[in-house]
Symmetry: none
DNA sequence: CGATAAACGAGACGGTACGTCGCGTCTTCTG
DNA sequence: CAGAAGACGCGACGTACCGTCTCGTTTATCG
């Protein structure tokens, strides 16, 4: 997106490793300090790069940070990377540790930094949505749907809404309240909200378990 | 020397009207531009004040913005200001419009600006907690508790968690996804999550009100 | 010229001492290093000032250096500061040491630095002319005229041309040839050129000695 | 070892025409803009060359400019190229036009650019000395000596000093004062200084040619 | 004649100075 | 003394040029 990797033109190619180094340095700095203290100079120094090398790739500070966020590997939230413990409740708990919000302090601090841009740039919203919001929601939706499929719960009235409960509440607590998202908190919303909103399957649901049922 | 009319000090009094003008100007600027573009110079110009007059009153940019936000009257979320429509569902809907997150675009933009400070300043967290988080949670808890009290629903397993569902999800949508919190969305979480997690009271519930009832 | 010293307006006055400190620092740096190595940052640091303070007073690097050159105290080349030894020859020699070209290494290095600007800026020419060229020429013209007035020499055919001989040749040697302007060299042009071009007064000149005689 | 016509190396030969193109482009750019605005990039573009091609040939910007100036053919100041009009005065005037300082505006601008380097690079001094100072002085010394030899003037006390008068004063005027060196100016120094410092030969001069004659 | 080696246009790269802007502090004058 | 005006030290911003270093292509000489 930032570079046209192999255009059949002359001239030295942009070092693709530099991209990675710079983005990594950006994330590192972002994790350590505040958005306002993220200096292009500092990022460049960390990445062993010159300032101009950064400006050649991204339009400015914001674009750089956005790109860094975007490259946060949220790929472990794909179906393959998700836990499969047998019950939805323990799946949720298993997701706590490596998951973005309850995960490392680092991930949270990085996210917090983006917030400084989210108001002004549509791109910031897109980046956050793509890197964090969508993957999280998708992961939770997958887990719930699987539990329904295996007959653990009846199909919920609104799967989409339910899938957003945990990420929303975790983010709210972590970001606006700046409080840790620990197991106690997770359990309170797992048991008190999500699982409470699910029902055990009725007898009539048995035939539908293996079929596609439109979600609305 | 004999008559010190106002206070025991000599010299010109601080113009109390300036406080209001400056805070108003801060909110105005905050509403139209980004946090990073909120310049003390600009605020001062808008307020018809000098920069030093601002620094005499607040410690710096952050404190100024915090003070400006703090003076936003969100106090209509007290028990007296809350709707009482007869059912919890319509109470929730009645809360949508005047509520902060579903409120005016202006209010959202102003509040979004705090996010730029929330990471570094403990005071920002306090301000947000005091102005937004606590009132919202308290309001929703009040509404739910009232519905339980009037026998509309059985006492939930975790009232605190449930009370935070709506503000969390609304904030997440409005802030991180930058999408409108309209009635459709509210209904999806009211019906799909909150009300789904509540049970109608059984006959036995009269005695069980204060007890845990195992899920299985 | 750079500041309007006492306009009846509000606001902090520009520190007049800063002007001096900055100009002095500029001259110092100019004397030590090359034009290209004169950094605003360095000058500011030397002067104990911020970069912005410099840019507030002068438009840029060139203007700063020009101003610094202009403030070089060439006032000791006024009639009062000139030597009066009794003979033109020893007057010339007496001028060697404190004089600009034969003077301090410092003065020469400073001049050399301006040369980098003299091509592009008309202002540079003006500054050099005002600070160096004119004072030197005027000084030599004064000395020669005084010698003529006292009857040491007959009025020269072209006083202006003669007055420029020494500064021109000293500058040429010092700047283009980068060789020292020492007493030996000075004597060679004093005796070989200037004094050689002057004549002893004829008998008829005696009456005119004390009168004004137009030069061209 | 006897006949290695080109060189014992493989690989593509350096395009000798590129040298010329680059030097020409350098001179062109030098003539129209200031030293500081002479960009390697710009020169390369003008010459239809790549920057690296320039750096392969010269060590840097300074060396390039020096080389460009060095290739300016100012060698028409040799004894054969000098005018021989019969009198020293008209010889001087005849030298005005094609001479470097009185020469084209272009030539002056180009040479002025060296001044930016003359302080830091010894090579610049050498180049200037070789290209300008020495030829000019030699030319004027030759003309004066010839006039003396033909009996037009008595041998001057210091031929070297006298030979530098015109180039020095012309350079001073052209460079430091940035004023044209026209016939009027030349006449003023020819008549007012150089010729004034020369004496018509006395009868006794035939024997005294090699002796000093005291001024008094 | 094909392999190899250098030159070449293009342009990425690490530095470093530029000139601009905002912050928070300070001084000066006016009411 | 408060208040408006604005100078001041600091430090980040984004731009430009320097000189070096790849790239892929072209051109020459040697095996």
């Amino acid at each position: 997106m930032t570079s046209t990797p192999t255009a059949g033109k002359a001239g030295r190619r942009r070092d693709p490793e530099k991209d990675a180094q710079i983005l990594q340095a950006t994330l590192d700095v972002l994790a350590e300090t505040d958005y306002a203290d993220v200096t292009i100079e500092l990022v460049a120094a960390r990445a062993g790069a010159g300032r101009h090398t950064i400006y050649r790739r991204w339009e400015g500070k914001d674009e750089l940070i956005l790109a860094a966020i975007a490259c946060t590997d949220s790929a472990n939230l794909g179906p393959d990377g998700l836990p499969d413990t047998g019950t939805l409740r323990s799946d949720f708990l298993a997701l706590l540790d490596p998951n973005w919000m309850g995960g490392s302090e680092r991930r949270l601090r990085i996210l917090s930094s983006v917030s400084a841009m989210i108001t002004r740039t549509t791109r910031a919203v897109d980046a956050v949505t793509k890197a964090i919001v969508d993957p999280s929601t998708a992961a939770y939706r997958f887990l719930i749907q699987r539990a329904v499929d295996r007959g653990e719960y009846a199909p919920p009235r609104n799967l989409d809404a339910l899938a957003q409960v945990i990420p929303s509440m975790a983010a709210y607590r972590a970001f606006f309240m700046q409080q840790v998202v620990d197991e106690e908190f997770m359990l309170s919303i797992i048991d008190g909200v999500v699982l409470a909103a699910l029902r055990e399957p009725s007898a009539a649901d048995d035939h539908l378990n293996e079929q596609d049922q439109p979600l609305t």
